[in-house]
């Protein structure tokens, strides 16, 4: 098994050395798709002799594909799970992790809704079905229609960890296959509430200010998120096989370069290095140290 992998990788190296165009395969999280696509486009226009394939499918698909060597970089909007780490460890793969950008989640409502701000506790009650009418949080007498992402998307999981403190959503929540569908629905539905990535925010939906301590409310923006004021912020990851570093390193370096990070900002994400993740909610960074002995991964930061 290991031998076959070694041979494969040396073949890879030889092909790259000979200038044979081997496409870099990037696969995973749908949150990272638009960003990666735009970056790949820029990268390709500078390095004309290289080739990149970007595929979605979800964080789980990306990580599983990395295990099976059907992708070179896995995009993930969540950290690898404990069970996934164990299978990496079992197959002897050494996985490297890079944070390529940060993403803030905005809580959005219909523009006609007079509610402007909510605390974390109120959000938890709404998404768990304990508050079902807008008048209980200072709005009109209208039923709250709660939109969520699909059960297993990284966005869903992060919102659950951060806002619901790991409790489950109510079962009658409407789950949408993609962020675009949430925007469309919130725009059409008067009593709607949903959450979307900051990059997707547009004038057709209204973003709420959020407070975790119940005192200071902050509206989501790149600035408030970068200064650590806006609380719902998560890192976005690339994972790759450490032995393929020479093959994928150039693209990753490009993303982390000032030029790449400028494009990150342009796409509505928060660049790496500029951020100071808000204290107390960033589960991922906490867990970071906890499990690092499992696979000896490292966080590469510029």
């Amino acid at each position: 098994m290991v031998n076959r992998k070694k041979i494969l990788i040396s073949v890879f190296a030889i092909m790259t050395a000979c200038g044979f165009i081997q496409a870099q395969r990037i696969k995973g999280s749908d949150t990272l798709l638009p960003l990666t696509q735009a970056l790949a486009e820029m990268y390709l226009s500078e390095y004309r002799d290289s080739s990149i394939i970007v595929t979605g499918g979800g964080s789980g698909v990306g990580i599983a594909a990395l295990m099976e060597n059907t992708t070179d970089i896995a995009m993930a909007s969540r950290r690898v799970k404990f069970s996934e780490k164990m299978s990496f460890a079992k197959s002897g793969l050494e996985i490297k992790e890079v944070i390529v950008a940060y993403d803030a989640l905005a809580v959005v409502v219909n523009p006609a809704n007079p509610v402007k701000e909510l605390t974390r506790k109120q959000l938890e009650a709404i998404f768990r079905g304990k508050i079902t009418n807008w008048k209980d949080v200072g709005g009109e007498d209208r039923k709250i229609v709660v939109y969520s992402r699909e059960t297993s998307s990284g966005t869903y999981e992060f919102f659950k960890e951060s806002v619901l403190e790991n409790k489950n959503y109510m079962s009658s929540i409407l789950s949408m296959p993609a962020t675009g569908a949430i925007i469309q629905s919130v725009r059409q539905t008067k009593g709607a509430i949903g959450y979307i990535g900051l990059a997707y925010l547009n004038p057709y939906v209204k973003a709420l200010s959020v407070s975790y301590d119940g005192k200071a409310f902050y509206a989501p923006s790149v600035e408030t998120a970068a200064e650590g004021l806006y609380p719902i912020v998560r890192p976005l990851y690339y994972y790759y096989d450490s032995r393929k570093e020479p093959f994928v390193g150039s693209f990753i370096t490009y993303i982390l370069s000032p030029k790449g990070q400028a494009s990150v900002l342009e796409q509505g994400f928060i660049p790496v290095g500029k951020e100071k993740p808000a204290g107390g909610n960033n589960v991922a960074t906490k867990e970071n140290g906890l499990n690092s002995e499992v696979d000896g991964e490292e966080v590469v930061r510029p």
Partner: protein
């Protein structure tokens, strides 16, 4: 030599004759091996344990109870058959609430000991931690883990495939949603489908028919994504306004889109059946002085009833398996539907939406394959019904 060729070709043809049977076997085999693994999975997430204080007598908890405890809906051990003691839940992420980073060590190497000590000190605490972190000599009790039972899966009413510490795979809401939305789709499609079939077979001049027939075929050819897109941008907001619903994404929107999609199947089969109605029957009816309508309603339709029925069943089959359009318009809420105006979630939509994010080989992944098995058998059963109806039809005509 020529004989050899003949023989060889015969074998080749025989082989390809059985390809479809082989594919069916392979589908069953692969879906089953992946799906059946679900029942060998434990209730509690792989690699983790639920640790209790050693004073705590509770040993077993069902998946629902675990979820209720960690959602803080159940707050006393009394409800679980234990002492009258408040429950405190502990997850790995809570570790910094209790300890400083120095206490845990730079690599969190002391975290396991600290957590064990914490549980030991709090009689009401239940801790959800990786098995590998618990020190060997810790004096703790653990919740006994059991396999996921088929009963919980097939009749369970809650679909929470990513809940931690224990996921719920109740497939009943999804199954009910699938059947509910398909049922209404056929209810809507039937009057339209039969009307068009009768119009095309009996009323329309041949020139109009020549235009209609390819149109209906084209309707069949439009990709489901296009229907979904159309439904989301046109039908959903329309329904919301017309019925004054709080939510536009509903079973109704799904049924309408599915009705449009199932229509061509019903029309084609029903029209063929009516056109194949023996000429002698018609002529006999007309000769007895019946009008054209009487002939159609009293002779042609009854005589082709079983073919029409199989067309309807095929239409149901198409509706049950439809994925992308339903995914985009039904709202996908995993609750057992009580009215068609509520959002619901179907099996195909669940597979398409969740397979991407489920870690390969995990319980969630296997549960989705199990859904695939269920879906396969529903359509298999539907097809057997069609076969049965049409074979009875043949026997009758003979």
């Amino acid at each position: 030599m020529r004989k050899l060729v003949e023989k060889g070709v015969k074998w080749l043809l025989t082989l390809s004759g059985f390809v479809t049977s082989l594919v069916i076997l392979l589908i069953i085999g692969f879906l089953f091996t992946e799906g059946a693994g679900l029942f060998r999975k434990k209730i509690i997430e792989e690699g983790y344990v639920l640790a209790l204080n050693k004073e705590n007598p509770v040993r077993t908890m069902t998946a629902e109870q675990i979820k209720a405890v960690f959602d803080e809906d159940v707050t006393s051990w009394k409800d679980l058959g234990g002492p009258d003691l408040a429950i405190t839940t502990f997850r790995l992420e809570d570790v910094e609430k209790y300890f400083t980073e120095e206490e845990l060590g730079a690599q969190y190497e002391y975290a396991g000991e600290k957590i064990a000590a914490l549980v030991d000190a709090n009689p009401g605490m239940v801790a959800f931690v990786p098995e590998s972190m618990i020190p060997e000599n810790a004096e703790l009790n653990f919740i006994e883990d059991s396999n996921i039972s088929p009963k919980d899966v097939f009749v369970g009413a809650e679909w929470f495939p990513t809940a931690t510490p224990s996921s719920l795979f109740g497939m009943w809401p999804l199954l009910a949603g699938t059947l509910w939305v398909s049922f209404f789709a056929i209810l809507f499609a039937l009057p339209f489908g039969l009307s068009i079939a009768i119009y095309m077979a009996e009323i329309a001049p041949s020139k109009v028919r020549d235009v209609f027939k390819p149109l209906i075929e084209l309707l069949n050819g439009i990709p489901s994504v296009v229907y979904g897109f159309f439904g989301l941008t046109i039908i959903v907001p329309l329904l919301q306004q017309v019925f004054g619903l709080p939510v536009g994404e509903s079973g109704l929107a799904g049924s309408i889109v599915l009705a449009i999609m199932a229509l061509p199947t019903i029309v084609t089969v029903a029209e063929d059946a009516m056109r194949n109605c023996p000429r002698s029957l018609r002529e006999a009816s007309l000769a007895l002085g019946a009008s054209k309508w009487q002939t159609v309603s009293k002779v042609v339709i009854p005589s082709s009833m079983s073919s029409i029925a199989s067309g309807i069943v095929l239409g149901i089959g198409r509706a049950v398996g439809e994925t992308m359009a339903v995914l985009m318009v039904t709202g996908n809420a995993a609750v057992i539907p009580h009215s068609i105006l509520e959002p619901l979630r179907t099996i195909p939509a669940t597979i398409a939406a969740e397979l991407g994010e489920a870690p390969a080989g995990g319980a969630h992944y296997q549960a989705l394959f199990m859904l695939g098995v269920i879906l396969f058998f529903i359509t298999f059963f539907i097809n057997l019904c069609v076969e049965y109806i049409s074979s009875r039809n043949k026997a009758k005509n003979r």
